[in-house]
Symmetry: C2
Subunit: 328 residues, 2 copies
């Protein structure tokens, strides 16, 4: 089969490509061709089949049509301007996250007009489609009230995905990712950054700053679980979804205090001592508007699985990012 | 004040313009200028102030910018390709209902970049943003799962309205209209047509066809109530809405049987005898997926009011459409 990954150079994109290459097949079908696209050409993995890497901005004229003309059987659409950037640069966020997504969906529709075509499309959404007012536990039938332009663009993408799928233009499935933790890489300025950094930095003997109370609760999955969601989404039969094409993924509801206790259990007190408390009311205020716990009933029933403890999330990070060794 | 009505030639648009002209003021401010736009130039009402009528397709290049350059204080955006047409003509529906709406919103944003500007925008949505699965009563926090392209386009319009309002580009409010009954005019092919025609035709001594069981329940408001919703939306302070800019309007939950009983009470058995039962399984199937009852708590708390009986809805029709006389 021919698989296209749009957004293949991003953190999840690279892990997804690595998993596809390592597996060599998807749902029992051998992978013959990989087309990897991103705003900059992604690195080409070592792979027995055909790999093509493409630098492509979906919102550019005819770019989506050019990609879709290759007629992949399966398209992962992960490309997006991230939350902070979409908030800071209004026009860029709408151009990339809304126009780019719509250009892709329309290119698939028009390719099908030319010659019958109905690929599977896996679209990444996010739990930031939810905003206030939020109950303590969010059910699958709770309404979407995004509080950022990024969340708005993802919610619109979900609506388009559902309508284009209902029309039979493609077979879409939307995956609302939990907050990814432990996110590999350097600390960044995202308001959510500390959820990862209070574990990631101490694991390599470095100090990290905790800007909120330990009672703050949020919804997490590891990068490995996120990759697993996307692969599972690509494999399952979408018939049980009906017209409801987007799913909140299962995750781990945990407090910052529970994160820290897990760190203590897995690597000990020395690591925990590297967490420096530095309350930041601005960050605390942003986080207060975020969802805490979901009842991801539909996705769980369809076989999606996440970690069930932060101990597990920390071990996944040690295995996947630290070559299974702790430098401290 | 300067009020612009986009979609002024439609059924609700004409009634809204008539009410604005009759009132001469809105929220205590005299109306000096009316700009009335539609795909064909709407009729100009007799009005003491300035009236301009414009033929305009919002999705055309620079059309929205041209309208917004007049800097109205208040914009009613009612223009849309209707449900059946948006379903039959995919590209036209997205062009008018999504691109047209976005073009208007962006034109307002860009006018504000040129020189500070933040008009009030009243956007008409519809209860067809709701689809399956539906509980018997739909709460304000229930999720939107449109089952038509029209419903999808309205749901996207709501999301854009909320984000553009959150950003401060305009002061938006979205009004989810119930099914309008009794819709004036000729019978049409809409699946919902019978809800109106089983009253409208017998009231003028003509036969009407009832394609479903009398137990079918749905959510109604009169054209007069719909006009009232839009005027009230234009007048109220939107601060209590927070970031939740769209509201399900109050309505009357009634069965077809209750409609018929009201007809019997208001005009008698002779009219009821003009309803011919002709079961149509295709229509029944479409209607089965429609919402039945809402708990429009937020809108009611904000002072929006609809009829509370079909007797009242029938009397409104007799007063407003039949010059308060019954030909039968």
């Amino acid at each position: 089969m021919h698989i296209m990954v749009i957004g293949a150079a991003g953190m999840i994109g690279r892990k997804l490509v690595a998993a596809l290459v390592a597996n060599g097949e998807l749902g029992g079908r051998p992978i013959e061709t990989l087309t990897l696209a991103d705003i900059v050409a992604p690195p080409a993995p070592e792979f027995g089949g055909t790999v093509e890497t493409v630098a492509a901005d979906l919102s550019g004229e005819n770019v989506a049509a050019g990609l879709v003309a290759r007629r992949p059987d399966l398209i992962f659409h992960l490309a997006a301007v991230v939350s902070g950037e979409a908030e800071a640069e209004f026009e860029k966020g709408y151009r990339v996250n809304l126009d780019g997504t719509r250009a892709l969906f329309d290119a698939i529709r028009l390719e099908g007009v030319r010659e019958p075509y109905c690929p599977k499309v896996v679209f990444t959404s996010s739990i930031v489609v939810y905003g206030e007012p939020l109950p303590e536990t969010i059910e699958d039938t709770y309404f979407l009230t995004p509080l950022t332009s990024y969340g708005t663009q993802k919610a619109i993408g979900e609506l388009l995905l559902a309508d284009y799928s209902r029309r039979g233009f493609f077979d879409g499935i939307g995956i609302r990712l939990p907050t990814i933790s432990i996110r590999p890489g350097k600390p960044n300025q995202a308001a959510s950054g500390f959820f990862s950094s209070i574990l990631r930095e101490p694991l390599i003997g470095q100090e990290a700053v905790l800007p909120v109370e330990e009672s703050v609760r949020h919804w997490f999955a590891s990068p490995r679980a996120a990759t697993g969601f996307l692969l599972h989404a690509a494999e399952i039969d979408t018939a049980p979804l009906g017209f409801r094409r987007s799913l909140t993924m299962p995750g781990l509801a945990a407090t910052v205090g529970e994160e820290i206790e897990a760190l203590r259990r897995v690597v000990g007190e020395k690591a925990v001592k590297l967490i420096r408390r530095e309350p930041n009311p601005a960050v605390a205020k942003i986080i207060a508007g975020w969802p805490q716990t979901f009842n991801a009933r539909r996705a769980s029933a369809l076989g999606f699985r996440a970690e069930t403890s932060f101990d597990e999330i920390i071990r996944v990070h040690i295995e996947d990012e630290l070559q299974n060794t702790l430098p401290v």
